[in-house]
């Protein structure tokens, strides 16, 4: 199946894929800093004018949500699977 072959091709060239992605991320922040490309006229707060603000928001937000949720789970919310079985 072609789709499986494509996925395996990408997996086999993981290092290149990762590098391309990292370059794309860097480019994204770079372009955000160029007013000619990204027009921030409609930004709502001063923070959003900082280049890469939403990139930081995404990265920190994700780690924060992960850590907070797991901590919440450890406070007795996550329990054994047969908890409700009598």
């Amino acid at each position: 199946m072609k789709l499986t072959r494509l996925i395996e091709f990408l997996r086999d060239h993981m290092k290149v894929v990762v590098r391309v992605c990292l370059v794309a991320l860097a480019l994204l922040v770079l372009l955000d800093a160029l007013p000619a490309v990204v027009d921030k006229e409609h930004a709502h707060t001063w923070m959003e004018h900082v280049p890469g603000f939403w990139a930081l928001f995404g990265f920190v937000g994700c780690v924060l949500l992960f850590v907070l949720s797991k901590t919440f789970g450890h406070f007795g919310v996550t329990t054994r699977e047969d908890y409700y079985d009598e």
């Binding site: 990204v38 959003e48 928001f57 994700c62 996550t78 699977e81």
Partner: protein, 599 residues
């Protein structure tokens, strides 16, 4: 009634009743035909007020077709086509009948112009959808179905009480916007009925409890209709109620937190219904034209991509028998197309540019910024990080990639699902892309004129940064070994009624046990000696008289029993499903007949 007006729900109700009579070779065609007819009829209905019926002293309105109800009617009837196609190979008629009745309940509620009609169809939804859970035929589905029904009955009672009080105070049954700035007690009761169906915390626990317990195709229907019909009702009745902004933002984050720690794929998706409906509830609370447009657009897009996610989860369940991440992994070799379609759903819900969520979710966030409710807008953006993390990254990664936790028999069983399931997923994926790329399709349907452009450089840059850096954080978490699935159950607020139910049972048993031991003691003291005597006497009697009589009786009962076995089919759910169908039709016929003869 002036002219004849055919209610789209009636096509589905009659269609479901005729279903058992259709010969097996025509069944698949019939299963497609009925929802397609419903869909075509729904989208071709003229705007206006139809189906007005005088009933006792009241005027019931079955067909209020305006821009708000039309957009919801469009997507509900389209989803009925997709859901039926997805489960077309299911042989059991009652499952299709229950699903169609459920949809007809939703369509009936959406087009209802008065509170009484709304209530009748609202209840039809609850009582027909529960079968989509029961038909799974697992012990936990039976229990979850009963809990689902009980919770909805409570919500229904609150709604009915609110309706009665409201109509008594205002003298009108018309379902129009309520006074949201000075809400009466009745308005609050109605609100409770609505937000319970919209799964707003703390009234949400029925959803992640019941939806993962449904059948593989039943949950596709469940994911679409109840909550979004409630969003419609909120748009109609409570637009601009500020309380809903707070509740909406809370629920968007609440769903995310539980989804992050969830181990069951379908329950994760269910928690993200809570989260996504949070956006819509926030939109309703903001109440501006852009926000209401956003709530409707997001409901429209959400029904498709959430249906797609549940179809992906359902396909995995159907083909492997598993939905827990601790029992899955590495399945891309076996189910690549299911992976691709589920990924489209995951990226759409995450609001990736060129996909449906991008053009709908952003309207609500934008309305928040425009309304200067900055905290709400920022928190909704935070929730969208969790949305991408769970639906676009965690679930696809743990099911199709990552370390395989499949048992040998799971791996052996796993394969692509039947063609109709893939076709339904393929079509829904196409719709997600189409809506994302061609915005006028959705925007022209919305209640208010749309002056909003999602594809500005700033918005695309903002979204891509948030999403791609969330992905970066995800892969860092994978790299440092933080992303192993853990078997476990997360306690939610259903704990209160589950444990409350047990406490009630315990309290009921305790007095009985006390009485029982008291009687036992009395019996031992006062009854033992006379008993010994009577036992000897009755022993002799028993040997000669009773044995003969009992043997004869038992023989007779066995004979009757074996005859009855052929009559009784033993499928309680099936019988009940058709009983409800008949009841729904009788009510409709009764109202129409009453109207005809009364004039």
């Amino acid at each position: 009634m002036s002219d004849f007006w055919l209610h789209p729900a009636l096509i589905l109700i009659v269609g479901s009743l005729l279903l058992p009579l259709v010969p097996a070779r025509l069944k698949k065609g019939y299963l497609l035909l009925v929802p397609l007819l419903t869909f075509l009829h729904t989208i071709s209905m003229a705007k206006g007020v139809f189906g007005e019926v005088q009933f006792l002293d009241w005027t019931l309105v079955f067909g209020r077709v305006d821009k708000l109800s039309a957009v919801f009617g469009y997507i509900m009837s389209l989803m009925c086509v997709i859901g039926t196609l997805y489960g077309m190979h299911v042989k059991e008629d009652a499952q299709h009948a229950a699903a169609w009745l459920y949809v007809s309940g939703s369509l009936g509620a959406i087009f209802a112009g008065d509170f009484l009609t709304l209530f009748v169809f609202w209840e039809l939804m609850a009582f027909s959808s529960v079968f989509l859970i029961w038909f799974r035929r697992q012990p936990e589905s039976l229990a979850a179905g009963y809990r689902y029904l009980l919770v909805h009955v409570v919500g229904g009672i609150s709604l009915l009480a609110g309706i009665v009080l409201h109509c008594k105070a205002t003298g009108s049954w018309a379902f129009t916007s309520l006074d949201v700035h000075h809400p009466s007690f009745a308005a609050y009761l109605i609100l409770i009925g609505f937000i319970l169906n919209a799964a707003v915390p703390p009234l949400h626990a029925w959803l992640p409890d019941a939806y993962p317990a449904g059948t593989f195709n039943g949950s596709v229907f469940l994911s679409a209709f109840t909550t979004k019909t409630a969003v419609y009702a909120l748009c109609r009745g409570f637009a601009g109620m500020e309380l809903l902004v707070v509740l909406g933002v809370v629920m968007s984050l609440y769903g995310v937190v539980y989804a992050v720690i969830e181990n069951d794929m379908r329950r994760l998706f269910a928690y993200h219904i809570v989260s996504q409906v949070g956006y819509m509830v926030t939109g309703v609370g903001l109440g501006t034209e852009l926000a209401i447009n956003g709530a409707c657009a997001h409901a429209f897009a959400h029904i498709l991509y959430k249906g797609l996610l549940f179809m992906g989860g359902g396909a995995v369940l159907h083909m492997t028998g598993q939905t827990r991440f601790t029992e899955l992994g590495g399945l891309y070799k076996k189910m690549p197309w299911t992976f691709l379609f589920t990924l489209v759903g995951g990226l759409s819900i995450s609001a990736f540019p060129l996909l449906s969520g991008f053009v709908s979710k952003s309207m609500i966030v934008q309305a928040g910024f425009d309304h200067h409710v900055l905290w709400a807008a920022f928190l909704l953006n935070l929730a969208s990080i969790g949305t991408f993390y769970c639906n676009g990254l965690k679930a696809p990664y743990l099911v199709w990639f990552g370390k395989s936790h499949c048992k040998p028999e799971t791996w052996e069983r796993a394969a692509e699902p039947p063609w109709n399931m893939l076709a339904a997923m393929g079509f829904t994926s196409f719709m997600c892309v189409f809506i994302g790329c061609y915005t006028p399709f959705l925007y022209n349907m919305l209640p208010y004129a749309v002056d909003y452009h999602p594809y500005t450089s700033y918005h695309v840059s903002e979204s891509l940064q948030i999403l791609l850096f969330t992905a970066l954080a995800f892969f860092v978490l994978v790299k440092v070994g933080k992303l192993h699935p853990h078997a476990g159950l997360n306690i939610d607020l259903d704990w209160f009624y589950r444990m409350g139910g047990r406490a009630f049972l315990w309290a009921a048993k305790k007095p009985i046990q006390l009485t029982d031991s008291f009687v036992g003691e009395l019996y031992r003291l006062a009854g033992l000696i006379p008993l010994m005597f009577s036992a000897r006497t009755s022993g002799r009697f028993d040997n000669r008289v009773i044995d003969g009589a009992v043997d004869g009786l038992a023989e007779t009962v066995r004979g009757i029993g074996s005859r009855l076995r052929f009559v009784q089919r033993g499928q309680m759910q099936e019988n009940l499903a058709f009983a409800f169908a008949v009841a729904a039709v009788l009510i409709v016929i009764f109202i129409f007949a009453y109207n005809t003869f009364a004039q």
